[in-house]
């Protein structure tokens, strides 16, 4: 019989470039939860971001070490035991370790809504494979994410990038077009992942249309 609880030691848990994906590891279904662990002072422990897309409230607690948060332009000193609650999804937030071995736990969800995992998780997992240079594995990850979240412009855009990297021109064009129809705002002409498409007339047309949309916005 399997136990109905799971123990995790944040000091020894395997992390992916500092990210301990607790929600995924524990299959938490009621709220988002992750931990972030960095070894060196000066390392970013919470990547700078906002929660506009998810509408999440987020709460951070400094478990170990010492961090400096930046929230809505304010600097916040955060020794262990500090709790930072960011109510406004639009507030930019991030944190940097000011001591070696700093660990921060984060939890988040959207008020008045049942929690569902956000596309961010799939994107982050696949992006790490991309950072490792394993484009095939990254493509699989972005595709899984796109199939689960077909309305997410980032996942389909990144899927197109991997297809372009791997020489799958036709799929890349279809997904790139889909990304801009979903509202992607990136300039594809500036993206090295799409370098193999630069002389493709369909790509040029997509890039021109995307540029026009950005100007109109």
């Amino acid at each position: 019989m399997s136990r109905s609880w799971t123990v995790v030691d944040l000091d020894t848990a395997e992390h992916r470039r500092g990210w301990i994906p607790l929600r995924e590891l524990l299959d938490v279904k009621a709220f988002g939860v992750n931990a972030w662990s960095v070894e060196n002072a000066g390392d970013p422990v919470i990547p700078e971001h906002d929660e506009r897309q998810t509408g999440h409230e987020e709460l951070y607690v400094v478990v170990r070490g010492h961090a400096r948060f930046s929230v809505a332009g304010d600097d916040l000193d955060a020794p262990p035991g500090t709790i930072v609650f960011v109510r406004d999804p639009e507030a930019r937030r991030g944190a940097v370790a000011v001591e070696p071995t700093t660990i921060v736990l984060s939890a988040g969800a959207k008020p008045s809504s049942a929690f569902t995992p956000s596309p961010w998780e799939w994107n982050a997992r696949a992006f790490q494979r991309y950072q490792d240079g394993d484009y095939e594995a990254a493509l699989i990850g972005f595709r899984e994410g796109h199939e689960r979240f077909p309305a997410d412009s980032t996942l389909i855009y990144n899927l197109a990038c991997m297809e372009a990297r791997l020489g799958r021109r036709d799929e890349a064009i279809v997904h790139l077009r889909g990304a801009f129809e979903l509202g992607a705002t990136i300039d594809p002409l500036e993206d090295d992942d799409l370098a193999s498409l630069r002389d493709d007339s369909e790509f040029v047309a997509i890039a021109r249309e995307a540029g026009s949309r950005r100007e109109r916005a």
Binding site: R3, S4, W5, T6, V7, V8, D9, L10, D11, L22, L26, D27, V28, K29, A30, F31, V33, H56, E57, L59, V61, V63, R64, F69, V71, A72, D74, L76, A78, P79, P80, G81, T82, I83, V84, F85, V86, R87, D88, E90, A91, R93, I103, L105, A107, G108, A109, K110, P111, S112, S113, A114, F115
Partner: protein
């Protein structure tokens, strides 16, 4: 006019309110402090080494899955009778609401951070928070404050039987018989099990012989 809430708030766990509950457990309200609306979150310390840092309970009624993180010190968790030792930096995720859980501190300053919510449902504030929050007022017999805290919680959940029952307890002790009887009757109307509790609850000594007391 309503005040606009700030984009963020910060507090150290040591600066949170410290509300003794029972068996040494001290509730450090986090959700209530920040008015978190998307999930349950609290911290707990203990009045003495060996005291509770998680009260003995299940989540069967609320259906919550929970995560307990030992933020400082160390604690022994007992989960359905099985002991699990957790040091600072370790956490336990309890997916099954029916698991009976309790934790005792091993060291001074042991602090446990708890997160909870019900899968598939939007979070709603648990009624027990208002009851815990009213404990200091009840202990100092500040009935007006204890009643105010219950009414505040009832604004969000007007038909919560446990809240109505506890409000009735406070009102009975405050000598407000008519209010106590009305709220007790409403609690029993919503959930008849409260009649059985009321029959032996010493808080109702002053109204037990009143007409309309649930029998």
């Amino acid at each position: 006019m309503t005040a606009r809430k700030s984009a963020y708030e910060v507090a150290h766990v040591d600066d949170l309110d410290a509300i003794p509950v029972s068996h040494g457990l001290v509730w450090r309200p986090v959700r209530r402090r920040f008015d978190v609306r998307a999930f349950g979150v609290n911290a707990y310390t203990s009045e003495e080494v060996g005291g509770q840092v998680v009260e003995e309970h299940t989540e069967s009624q609320l259906g919550h899955e929970e995560i307990y993180l030992v933020l400082r010190g160390s604690a022994t968790f007992t989960l359905d009778g099985e002991q699990v030792e957790l040091d600072a930096g370790s956490l336990v995720h309890i997916a099954d609401p029916d698991v009976k859980r309790v934790a005792l501190s091993h060291e001074p300053e042991t602090t446990v951070f708890a997160l909870g919510g019900k899968p598939g449902e939007a979070y709603t504030v648990s009624a027990w928070e208002a009851m815990f929050a009213a404990m200091p007022a009840v202990r100092r017999r500040d009935w007006d404050e204890a009643i105010r805290l219950h009414h505040e919680a009832l604004l969000e959940r007007p038909d919560h039987p446990a809240l109505l029952y506890n409000l009735a307890c406070v009102e009975a002790r405050a000598g407000r018989s008519i209010d106590a009887l009305a709220h007790l009757q409403r609690a029993v109307e919503l959930d008849p099990k409260w009649a059985a509790y009321a029959r032996t609850d010493t808080d109702f000594a002053s109204i037990r012989r009143e007409p309309g007391f649930p029998v």
